[in-house]
């Protein structure tokens, strides 16, 4: 066993050798679930990062940007923690970024705190993520942010008096259920009931039948992206639970492009809430979507892509402000309060909570030029996470 003094001396020596190397480069460690069931999220997020670098060059404020990718394989806090540790001590990373899933961010947070490195959370959407360390900044979205707003809107503008919630039985699902219900009941609505489906749920028919038995005016859905949106959409339609007879509210994943294609006519009229809308008519967004699809074999960007893209924007702009000083404290100061126009719309970083403040879009699936897509029907600007 080495004594602490030797350890420390060795550490300092190594840290100095890595920082000497790092003078001309800024190393960004990217921690994502590149393999396993969430690989698609990692791919999309990485593609967002890559697009930003391709567009804005790999040099900023005289420094070359270098990415080091670390795979977590899924929601593994311990692997993410080790990845962060290795990034700091072995690779000499200046910034750690990525984090598609909340456990990844929770695992890495203590490392960022101890090593005093800026940590850019590009997606992980549980409200309390930014509270884990003073060095965390989030550029994605929080679940309460979009769903609380939807709950209010559903009662006030959507004309719905009572509703039922059906969410996946895990952290994000619980958050979504809570925040939608809070927004809805505070506005004056009444909840008829709520059910939670197992996270790995191959078949929704039982739960959908329960919703049907309760006969609500509207049902609110939250399921993880991937295969489940289309599956639940179809199960609802099979029971005749679809708009206009029964309104369907959900977070934006429910109507992602592949799900829309799979659901077909059944998707018409579904109302979702999101911070990014692929089809939103805006020059910045059009440029983003065109560049993205061209670089990714026609695959369209999603919430992960935009989180990664804006995360890189934040890093680039902060480095410009600090003149290339990549120390955690300097970057953090530069990032606090930063605001910019993103393809998703205007957004900023709250200087108090270091969390993202952005426009929430309420969208409805409508037919445009013979094709079903999400159409923005309402915008709520400058929404903060209601739980902070």
């Amino acid at each position: 066993m080495l004594t602490r003094r030797v350890t420390l001396a060795l550490g300092v020596a190594l840290a100095m050798s890595t920082s000497a190397l790092a003078q001309e480069t800024v190393k960004i460690g990217v921690i994502l679930p590149y393999s396993g069931p969430f690989a698609d999220a990692a791919n999309q997020l990485q593609a967002g990062i890559d697009l930003y670098i391709a567009k804005h060059g790999d040099t900023v404020a005289g420094k070359k940007i270098e990415l080091i990718k670390k795979d977590t394989g899924g929601p593994n806090a311990d692997t993410a923690q080790r990845a962060a540790q290795e990034l700091v001590v072995r690779d000499g990373a200046d910034i750690i970024a990525g984090f598609a899933l909340t456990p990844e961010a929770l695992g890495a947070a203590p490392v960022a705190e101890e090593a005093q490195k800026l940590m850019v959370v590009m997606n992980a959407a549980t409200s309390n993520v930014t509270e884990q360390s003073e060095y965390i900044v989030r550029t994605g979205v929080t679940i309460p942010q979009v769903n609380y707003a939807l709950g209010k809107w559903a009662f006030e503008e959507g004309g719905v008096k009572q509703a039922y919630t059906l969410v996946s039985d895990y952290g994000p699902g619980h958050d979504a259920e809570k925040s939608f219900s809070a927004g809805f009941t505070e506005a004056g609505g009444k909840m008829l009931g709520s059910d939670r489906t197992p996270v790995a749920n191959p078949d929704f028919s039982a739960f959908v039948q329960r919703v049907k038995d309760a006969n609500p005016e509207a049902v609110y859905i939250f399921v993880p992206g991937g295969a489940q949106p289309a599956a639940i959409g179809k199960a609802l339609a099979d029971r005749g639970l679809n708009p206009p007879a029964t309104k369907i509210f959900a977070q934006g994943e429910l109507t992602h492009p592949e799900a829309l294609e799979s659901m077909g006519e059944n998707a018409r009229g579904i109302i979702t809430t999101f911070h990014y809308t692929l089809e939103r008519d805006d020059p910045l967004n059009k440029e983003f979507v065109d560049g993205y699809t061209a670089a990714n074999n026609g695959r369209q960007p999603d919430l992960f892509s935009i989180g990664g893209y804006d995360g890189m924007h934040l890093i680039y702009e902060a480095l410009k402000k600090t003149n290339g000083d990549a120390s955690g404290d300097a970057l953090l100061e530069a990032a606090k309060g930063m605001s910019w126009d993103s393809p998703r719309g205007p957004m900023s970083i709250d200087p108090e909570t270091r969390d993202v403040v952005q426009t929430v879009y309420i969208r409805e699936v409508q037919e445009v030029d013979g094709k079903l897509q999400n159409v923005v029907i309402h915008e709520i600007p400058n929404v903060k996470d209601p739980l902070h």
Binding site: A39, A206, Q209, R239, E258, S262, N297
Partner: protein
């Protein structure tokens, strides 16, 4: 009452999907004691083949299904002849390790060719939506699933009971040594059975895309369900797989409907209870 019937119907349809996916494994496990954890990977192959021929070659859905069956069967025979047959004498653990390796490789290959994105399969118009019977709505695709699986069961049972190959397979399952002694080419019988079983997995994979989606983790994802059906039903028994699958499908859906709080526990509790009482499964002989 009407919701009860709907629940039974939905559960049964889901069970039938599990049946088609897993019956092949039950027979090959019972026949050759070969633990093939890559069975789900052949299901995944079938799914990707169906999606690809429909998108790229414009095959209709009803033609894509047999294509998926054939593709999975052919690829499985190649694997069987080149690799798996070397493992028949190996220990259970080595079979497990090897076939898990195959699942890893299959998943990586699928990611390489198709990406991580969810695959979409566009059903023909006549299979979408639902029909109203006696005031209840039944999903058309679920009716289709039940019909297909009943046909598969019919063909399998008829084939096993009435054909020469069927008699040979039964003989080999019951007593391999005696069958060999009587001059049956057990290895060849197994090769054919393996191809049929994997082909059915491929068909199941193609049928599953509409209900559960398809991505490169399909092989892992369905492994657990397939193993549950096989073990509960009993090795080497088609009736067992059928009953086991139906029971699990209905138990799962009905359980979630009546006790949603423990919905996710039910399928496992059911399995543990059944296997504790009947370690050989409901219809297992050995």
């Amino acid at each position: 009452m009407s919701s009860l019937i709907i629940i039974l119907f939905d559960g049964f349809a889901f069970g039938m999907l599990l049946f088609v996916l897993s019956v092949g494994l039950s027979v090959t496990l019972g026949l050759m004691n070969f633990i093939n954890l890559a069975h789900g990977a052949f299901g995944m192959l079938g799914g990707y083949v169906a999606v690809t021929v429909m998108r790229q070659l414009g095959f209709p859905f009803l033609l894509a299904l047999p294509t998926a069956f054939l593709a999975a069967a052919i690829v499985s025979v190649i694997f069987e002849r080149l690799l798996f047959r070397r493992l028949y004498g190996a220990t259970e653990l080595n079979q497990v390790l090897f076939t898990i390796g195959v699942v890893f490789v299959a998943s990586a290959v699928a990611t390489y060719f198709f990406g991580t994105v969810q695959q979409v399969l566009i059903l023909p118009e006549w299979l979408r939506g639902s029909v109203e019977l006696f005031g209840m709505r039944f999903g058309v695709y679920r009716i289709f699933l039940i019909v297909i699986s009943l046909i598969v069961t019919g063909v399998l049972v008829f084939g096993l009971e009435r054909t020469r190959l069927g008699a040979q397979i039964r003989a080999a399952v019951d007593n391999q040594r005696a069958a060999k002694g009587l001059g049956l080419d057990v290895e060849k019988i197994f090769g054919i059975t393996f191809a049929l079983g994997s082909g059915l997995a491929g068909l199941g994979g193609a049928l599953a895309v509409e209900i559960v989606g398809l991505d490169p983790s399909f092989g892992f994802h369905f492994l657990v369900y397939v193993l549950i059906v096989v073990s509960v039903g009993g090795l080497g028994s088609i009736t067992g797989s059928f009953v086991g699958a139906a029971l699990l499908g209905i138990g799962d859906v009905a359980g979630k409907y009546f006790w949603p709080e423990i919905g996710s526990f039910l399928i496992y509790m059911l399995m543990v209870a059944i296997l504790f009482v009947r370690p050989l499964g409901l219809f297992g002989k050995r």
